[in-house]
Every structure is written in structure tokens, then in C-alpha cells.
């Protein structure tokens, strides 16, 4: 959608309070690989938080998370630990 930029460019407009000390998302790489869940996480996350590494591992850019919980809803049990960020951190919607 050229008129509004890439997802990354769109998120640059959003307001975030990044938590540099802890990530609220943790992938169990072995379990995720066994379940083959990586490509699903990559496509289903509207914020493009997840990416596939060349070695098949799943990369996580937790600072871009819009905190919807879709990844947790689709991930098989044991593959993903996802919670809300600590109080005051994460996305701050202004037009939600």
C-alpha cells in the first residue's frame, strides 16, 4: 500500500515507550521449530514483530509489538511466552 508506507514506516508514526530491559515475548526456538509455527507468526502479526532467520530461528522485535495477542492465540502451547509489557511500557495509542 504505497500511499501509507510499509508497516515499519507506519509504526514509526506510532508512539511507543520501549522497555529496553526486558522483552515481553519469548519464543521457545526448539518447540517453535518442531511445531513449524514460524511462518504463521510472521504472516499473522499485523506489526511484523516476527521474522524468520536464515537458520530457521524466529527473530522477535518486541519493541514494535502492538499488544493484540494474536500470536499467542495461534501459537501451539509451549512455543511462545507472551505477556503484556510492564506497566507504562509498550505502545501508547492516540487514535485507538
Amino acid at each position: 500500500m504505497a500511499q501509507f508506507g510499509s508497516v515499519t514506516e507506519r509504526l514509526a508514526n506510532n508512539h511507543f515507550e520501549p522497555d529496553d530491559e526486558e522483552s515481553h515475548i519469548e519464543v521457545d526456538q526448539a518447540a517453535a521449530r518442531a511445531a513449524g509455527v514460524g511462518p504463521l507468526l510472521v504472516r499473522i502479526c499485523p506489526a511484523h514483530v516476527y521474522s524468520m532467520g536464515e537458520d530457521g530461528s524466529i527473530g522477535v522485535t518486541h519493541a514494535a509489538c502492538l499488544e493484540c495477542g494474536t500470536c499467542l492465540a495461534v501459537a501451539p502451547p509451549g512455543t511462545l511466552r507472551w505477556h503484556y509489557p510492564r506497566g507504562g511500557f509498550g505502545v501508547t495509542y492516540r487514535e485507538g
Partner: protein
């Protein structure tokens, strides 16, 4: 965590409300107005910071709480035009309903939650609620099977009643053993862009006067045939537009949520509405597709009431998508229940279960029942592809004067149906199911 029963009696507050959305704020406000000591804990840095809705609030219920809600609260536009749009890749068929009566009394408004929730929270504060933003509740404190408070990091807060208004992902309802992992088909992801357009441009493009607004419910190619739909709502000087995608079908179809969203905004029937607009914010939110099924689980534990999205109070009737009105209605019922419990000092399960009876007295309980077949109807894949194309093909046969001799409408329709992958039997079944479910 678990504590001994004698510790449990030392309450810091009468009521702890977790989550500062519509449900949490309404519950907290009602209880503070009744003279109770209430703390409202919100994980966002400001109330509304974490909240995102499509944007239409069927707002009559709010008059029970704030008599002048529509004039006092920061609402965007009053919806007087509702458009149901069947979208195909290169055509669209719309049912366009405008009615002045929808403006008096005001029936539905568009809202932006960062503004609405901040206002609601300010009303709470004025009524005496202690509003605590920037705090994430981590867990319930249990005394036996009784909920007696919450923990947030190192801190503990005790209360006689805890109201969980922590949204669709409700970790609290899960911890209480009320909700397990939801089946994917109960959930959908909403992806929304808010696009700024000058006020006059919105009024011209959408044929609106003054503070009137329009709500589009779109089905078909907007989601590239994924179960769900598209929406477009006008705000004062912006448009909220996006898609809602049922998770099981999105996963099965192998599509990307952001790409489906982009496809909708670029659709030739939609893109002209957004021309020269500026993207203000891109966001997403998980939403509930089968509210009636979800609310069949428990809604209470001793000392605990679950309200709003956390409990599953959402309805997609195909024509209207409702959540905030049901959030407010459930919160009013929960506040009434908590208030009675505080009067009697009885916080047992039996006392909390009065909530279901309170819900049953209101539109919330009734509507959840009325529409319990709607989600199953909306599972029919024909709705997301063939139906829209068939409507277009019938109208194409009517309006495309290609110099072949004209046929009566019924013959034109039957010809289009013959071309469609749908059979007459399928269409008849769909029509009967629609009449029963919607």
C-alpha cells in the same frame, strides 16, 4: 499467591477494578457513586493508551450512567448512515441506509478510545475512584477459593471484590480457571488505520452534514475471502478503516494480516475515499467472533466478577458489530452485584452469581441469547465470496445494455445464479439460516 483467611479480611478497598476501558470505567464509576472505595488499575501510561476499537459505540446504554453522555463525552460523529457493502474484486453492491431518526435520540457514535477512555477515567476520578495508571496487575491473591486482591510487581492490594475488565486476552480470567486457550475460530484480529482528512472533505465524500457520520460494514473481497469483514467509520476529521479476520480462516488461507488490510484500503471501491489522506496511526486488536459461545463459561468466582471483552461480551450480528455497549451493560450489572454483596458482606460464589441474574434483566443477557446462532451463520464461506459476486452479476445483467434483447429480472437472476458456483439449494439454505440467525 495464596494467603491465610484471617489476612484476607483486611481490605484496602471495597473494590479493585482491573483495566480502564469502557467496562472497567463504568463499573468503577457506578460503585464510587454508590459510596464504595474503588481503585481502578490500568496498565497503560494513560487511560485509553492500550485500547483500540473499530469505533462505533451504540451509546444509549451510557445514558444510564452519564445522562448527557453524547453531549459531554468526546464523541466523534453521530451515525445516521449505515452502509452494508458486498465487495467483489471489481464491483460492489451497497445497501445504503440513512435515517434522520437515528440522530434523535442519538443511537450510535464513533469514538477514538484514547480520548473517550481518558474522559471516562476523569469521570471516575471526579466520583472518587483512585485511578492508578501505568500499573500492570500480575496475579490474583487467593485465600482458599476466595479472590481477595491482586499483586502488581512487589505490591499487593486487597479488596472484598475484584472486577476483571482486562480485555479480550484476560490473563486474570485464565488465572481464575474461567477461561482456557480460546479456539481460534472464536477470535479475530482487527487491523485498523486512522487516516486524517479535512472535515469538509469527509462531509463531501460521505454526504454528511454537521456532526453526522457513516458506518460501513463490508463483506467479501475486503478480506480476500477470509471470514470476517471490513469496516470504515467517519470521525470528525479522520476515517477509521480496517479489516477483522477470523484467526482460523486467516491461518488456513495462508494470508498476511497486514497485506489483507492493505488490499482493502487499495481496493478501487475504497481507495478514492482515502485519497490525499495522511496516516495518523496504524493499530491492531484481538476481538471476539463467538461471544455467545464464550459467555457460556463461568463469569464469577468467590470475590471475582468478569466484565466486558474479558468475559466475551461481543456480538457480530453480520450487520452490526457490538462490544462497547455490552461492556457498559455488563459493567452496570457487575456493579449492582458487587454493591449488593458489599451491603450484605457476602462475597461467596452464590452472591457473585447474582451477576447472571442482573445480566438477564438487561439487553446484554437477552441479546447474547438472541444472536447465539449468528456466529455459526457467519462461518458459511459463501458469505465471503460468492454472495457478493452473485449480487454484482445480477445487477450487471440488469444494467449492462449490450444490445441483446432484455430479459425479465427473474430470468437475469437465474442466469447469474447458473454462472455462480453457488446452487439454488445453497442459496435457499443460506437465506433460511440468515433469517433464523440474524
Amino acid at each position: 499467591m495464596t494467603v491465610e483467611p484471617d489476612e484476607a479480611s483486611e481490605a484496602d478497598f471495597d473494590v479493585i477494578v482491573i483495566g480502564g476501558g469502557v467496562a472497567g470505567c463504568v463499573a468503577a464509576y457506578q460503585l464510587a457513586k454508590a459510596g464504595r472505595s474503588v481503585v481502578l488499575i490500568e496498565r497503560g501510561a494513560e487511560p485509553g493508551a492500550k485500547n483500540l476499537s473499530g469505533g462505533v459505540f451504540y451509546s444509549r446504554v451510557m445514558e444510564q450512567v452519564f445522562p448527557d453522555f453524547v453531549t459531554d463525552a468526546p464523541v466523534e460523529r453521530r451515525i445516521t448512515r449505515n452502509v452494508l457493502s458486498f465487495l467483489s474484486p471489481a464491483s460492489s453492491v451497497n445497501i445504503d441506509y440513512w435515517d434522520e431518526r437515528l440522530a434523535s435520540p442519538v443511537n450510535a457514535v464513533t469514538v477514538l478510545r484514547a480520548r473517550l477512555d481518558a474522559w471516562l477515567s476523569a469521570q471516575c476520578e471526579a466520583a472518587g475512584v483512585m485511578v492508578m495508571p501505568g500499573v500492570r496487575v500480575d496475579a490474583l491473591i487467593m485465600s482458599g477459593d476466595q479472590v481477595v486482591g491482586v499483586t502488581a510487581g512487589e505490591d499487593e492490594l486487597r479488596a472484598h471484590v475484584v472486577i476483571a475488565a482486562d480485555g479480550v486476552n484476560s490473563f486474570i480470567a485464565q488465572q481464575a480457571g474461567i477461561r482456557a486457550k480460546e479456539p481460534m475460530k472464536h477470535l479475530a484480529v482487527g487491523v485498523k488505520s486512522v487516516i486524517r482528512l479535512p472535515r469538509e472533505v469527509i462531509e463531501q465524500r460521505f454526504h454528511l452534514t454537521g456532526d453526522e457520520g457513516v458506518a460501513y460494514a463490508v463483506v467479501g473481497d475486503c478480506t480476500q475471502s477470509v471470514a470476517g469483514g471490513g469496516f470504515l467509520y467517519t470521525n470528525v476529521d479522520s476515517v477509521s478503516i480496517g479489516v477483522v479476520l477470523r484467526l482460523d480462516d486467516l491461518a488456513a488461507k495462508g494470508l498476511s494480516s497486514s497485506e489483507v488490510h492493505d488490499h482493502f484500503l487499495a481496493h478501487p471501491a475504497i481507495a478514492p475515499f482515502l485519497a490525499d489522506g495522511e496516516l495518523l496511526e496504524y493499530g491492531c486488536h484481538l476481538t471476539i467472533e463467538d461471544g455467545p459461545q464464550m459467555v457460556t463459561h463461568d463469569l464469577t468466582r468467590p470475590g471475582l466478577l468478569i466484565v466486558g471483552d474479558a468475559a466475551g461480551f461481543t456480538l457480530n450480528t453480520g450487520l452490526t458489530i457490538r462490544g462497547m455497549d455490552l461492556a457498559a451493560g455488563s459493567a452496570i450489572a457487575a456493579a449492582t452485584t458487587a454493591n449488593k454483596a458489599l451491603d450484605t458482606g457476602d462475597f461467596s460464589l452464590a452472591s457473585m452469581e447474582g451477576y447472571r441474574a442482573e445480566l438477564g434483566k438487561t439487553f446484554v443477557g437477552a441479546d447474547m441469547k438472541t444472536y447465539d446462532r449468528a456466529p455459526a451463520f457467519l462461518e458459511n464461506p459463501l458469505m465471503y465470496g460468492e454472495v457478493g459476486q452473485l449480487l454484482s452479476d445480477v445487477l450487471y445483467g440488469v444494467f449492462n445494455h449490450d444490445l441483446t434483447p432484455r430479459k425479465h429480472l427473474i430470468a437475469t437472476a437465474l442466469k447469474a445464479l447458473k454462472k455462480s458456483p453457488m446452487t439454488i439449494i445453497q442459496m435457499a439454505k443460506l437465506a433460511v439460516a440468515a433469517v433464523r440467525a440474524l
